[in-house]
Amino acid sequence: MVRNPYIDAVLTALLAIIFIIGSSVGIGMLARFIAKLAGATRRKQENTFAGYLFASPWIVGFLIFVIIPMAFSLYWSFTDYRVVSNEPAQWVGFDNYNQLIMKDEGFHASIVNTLFLTAIGLPLQMAVALFLAVLLNRKMRGERIFRMAFYLPVVLGFNTAVLLAWRLMLNTGTGIINQLIRALTKAFPPYGYLNRALIFFQEVISALFLGISNGNFNLLNQVIKAGFPAENRVPLWVQSPLWSKMSVVLLMIWGCGTMMLIFLAGLKNIPKELSEAAEVDGASNWKRFWRISFPLLTPYIFYNLVVGLISSLQIFEPIYVLYRDNQPLVSSVISMVYYLWQASFRHFEIGYGSAISWLILLIILIVTVIQFKMQNRWVNYDLY
């Protein structure tokens, strides 16, 4: 029989459609049968059939693309499975989990790094998003252009052009960010002191986190011993392990457009009368923001916090974009998900990688549950 790749593709697509229709009808009939067994009326049975029939394409997709891979991943997490070895997975029980939790220093370091990005990066990201939303909430000329400009990074994502642009911008000697810092220092000498103080503070914090992740505080001792930075010091963005995480935080902040939009929606939702009444009573802008807008924004802050925490605990792209070709710095910034990627797709240890993914899921689950448990203490739903 003559094979034609185009006909093959069309046939595959047709078979997929037939499979979706068939499986949907099958699930619908099964649901109707169960309803019948449960003693439902004929009308109820028909409604059950129709409901499941139309929901089935999603259910089938969910089963095939989520549940089944998850089941495989769970199984592999208890095995030694190397994808390029041409050998089947070997059952090793809890060895992978034991290794990860008790022995693997690399994984522990990745947890500390992720903690840094979450504890430092996420609050900064949210603060900038809120600041931009407050600015955009005011009537001003070109408001839509600014809104689009701040949201553009979300649309652009982390493609090659963005990677190149950031690498150039973060270049220590000629990058625009350091050039701006130098220009500002030259124009306003007091800013130079602030800049150096920030450099010192940031390097101490980074060295502390690196010390925790390595179990060795040599770098922290060196930073403290070196003392207040010299006049010509600038951040060594993508060059030094002391700045590698902060460079990722910059990229996180750059991509805060979605958070900003949510804050903006929240601000627009607050009745103007509340603010106007306070203004009549003589409240300043600052007071009105803190006493009226901020408490009413807490549901939005809570949402951004939950989503932001999940996202920062899963951070991968900015690290991959900035450091995949800068191997000496990877260990200083490696996150849990980057570690997972490294184990699975560089070392091809799918079993070990699967175990990492389940541990990450567990960590995210615990953190999210804690957040929901604590929301009653600070989230204000009075307006809703």
């Binding site: 390029v84 270049n171 220590t172 060196q222 010509n232 600038v234 560089r346 070392h347």
Partner: protein, 439 residues
């Protein structure tokens, strides 16, 4: 009722026409099975791809009616994720582009091509140089090498002379450190390097693992002991690590000085910027020809090419080394078109084709008999080919290469920040690599 009749008539006519079609006698036309040979190449020049598409593939398709060649272009950035997807799915390109050290990594998943490309099947195989060893796994051929890309030490003789350094490329560790201190310049206004004595693969950290291995081999170091365990606890490993740190200090100063790296320039780091007529900043470059200026650049009259000489003063087993990398094309074990893949390889790796392929990239062909024309006509390539033949050490045979890379980059990164001492670094690498190898 009328509709039911219409449907019945339609169904009967479909059945009848189907039967009628079956009744037509089949003609005896020879049918060739159409097949697509898929090839995945990484970061080749547009000239190379254009040549493959205009010359090699049409010739192959003409010789194999029904066969179509499909080339997909990928990048060395992220190749590992892509390849692991192919192997996990057991489906993907028939021929994939690999690097030198990847024979041990993927070997088990690559096809045994001895029946198709071995001496008995293809006598031309005897014309391949030592790079062929990198295309083998467990003694069996898995594909064919395209080129040899050794890493040399390129130095700007004009800048050396201007500095008063008259003895040429340093030939021992002490000279390298003295030279590095003399030839590196830091701009005090920006606290960044404006001239760097040596850029060894990675200009910023100067701690690339491949550079470490080159230095190590030059001291006569062996990666494994006789029992197969790693040899990072050897004196050569410690001396190499100390040298990497000394050289870094001589150029950047101590880590706390936080000196910025050389700015990214236009073209090679040892070239001159055409717009500003200023040097790009490196006096010497330890890398392959890819990182050096194109051979057409006028700067070549001021560039020397040498091996890395090791440290004969302190290590009598030192030897000049150029670390030879090569790209090769392997046939995946999951491929259903192994024989066809071998046929394409034979065509694309004939004497003339291997020559032409490398000419599009100005590299040294893996076939010895293809090293003519532009190779011998070019002063630089001729010198490179001679050095490779004389001092070439293959970057191959590294067990768990990806893990070693991760382990070494982690440890060497901590070396240059002075988080770990050289002794701690080699101990860390030895322990972690031993565990990775199960030793």
């Amino acid at each position: 009722m009328r509709t039911k009749w219409l449907v019945l008539v339609l169904l009967v006519s479909i059945v009848l026409s189907a039967c009628g079609a079956k009744a037509v006698p089949e003609t005896e036309v020879p049918v060739v099975e159409p097949v697509t040979l898929k090839i995945y190449l990484l970061d080749y020049t547009p000239d190379t791809i254009a040549w493959l598409k205009s010359d090699i593939n049409p010739a192959f398709e003409a010789a194999h009616p029904g066969a179509t060649v499909e080339i997909t272009e990928g990048s060395w950035s992220g190749w590992d994720t892509t390849f692991s997807g192919f192997f996990a799915a057991g489906e993907g390109p028939d021929i994939i582009n690999l690097g030198s050290e990847m024979n041990t990594l993927y070997g088990a998943s690559l096809a045994d091509m001895d029946p198709y490309l071995g001496k008995a099947a293809w006598p031309d195989i005897t014309n391949f140089g030592p790079a062929l060893e990198n295309a083998k796994y467990q003694g069996k051929l898995r594909g064919l090498p395209i080129f040899t890309a050794p890493r040399y030490v390129f130095c700007r003789t004009d800048l050396m002379e201007a500095l008063g350094w008259t003895t040429g490329t340093p030939e021992n560790f002490a000279d390298w450190v003295s030279f590095a201190g003399m030839a590196s310049k830091i701009d005090s206004a920006t606290n960044s390097l404006i001239q760097q004595a040596l850029v060894p693969v990675d200009a910023g950290s100067m701690a690339d693992w491949q550079w470490w291995l080159l230095v190590y081999y030059s001291l006569g170091g062996q990666l494994y002991k006789a029992d197969g365990s790693p040899n990072f606890d050897s004196p050569e490993a410690l001396a190499t690590t100390q040298f990497i740190l000394d050289l870094r200090h001589a150029i950047y100063g101590p880590a706390v000085n936080a000196v910025g790296a050389l700015p990214a320039g236009q073209g090679s780091v040892i070239d001159v910027n055409d717009d500003t007529q200023k040097d790009n900043g490196a006096v010497c470059l330890a890398h392959s020809g890819w990182a050096a200026p194109p051979f057409t650049r006028p700067i070549w009259s001021k560039i020397s090419i040498d091996p890395f000489f090791g440290d004969p003063t302190n290590f009598p087993n030192s030897k000049p080394v150029v670390l030879a990398f090569n790209d090769w094309l392997a046939v995946a074990d999951y491929s259903k078109n192994k024989e066809l893949a071998a046929e394409w390889l034979k065509l694309a790796f004939s004497k003339e084709a291997n020559h032409k392929w490398n000419e599009t990239m100005s590299l040294i062909p893996a076939r010895n008999d293809a090293q003519y024309g532009y190779v011998t006509d070019s002063v630089q390539l001729k010198r490179e080919a001679e050095l490779a033949a004389q001092y070439g050490v293959g970057f191959a045979g590294i067990e768990e290469a990806a893990k070693l890379s991760t382990i070494m980059q982690d440890a060497l990164g901590k070396l240059v920040t002075e988080e770990l001492t050289p002794a701690e670094v080699v101990e860390k690498i030895q322990t972690e690599y031993s565990a990775a190898l199960g030793k």
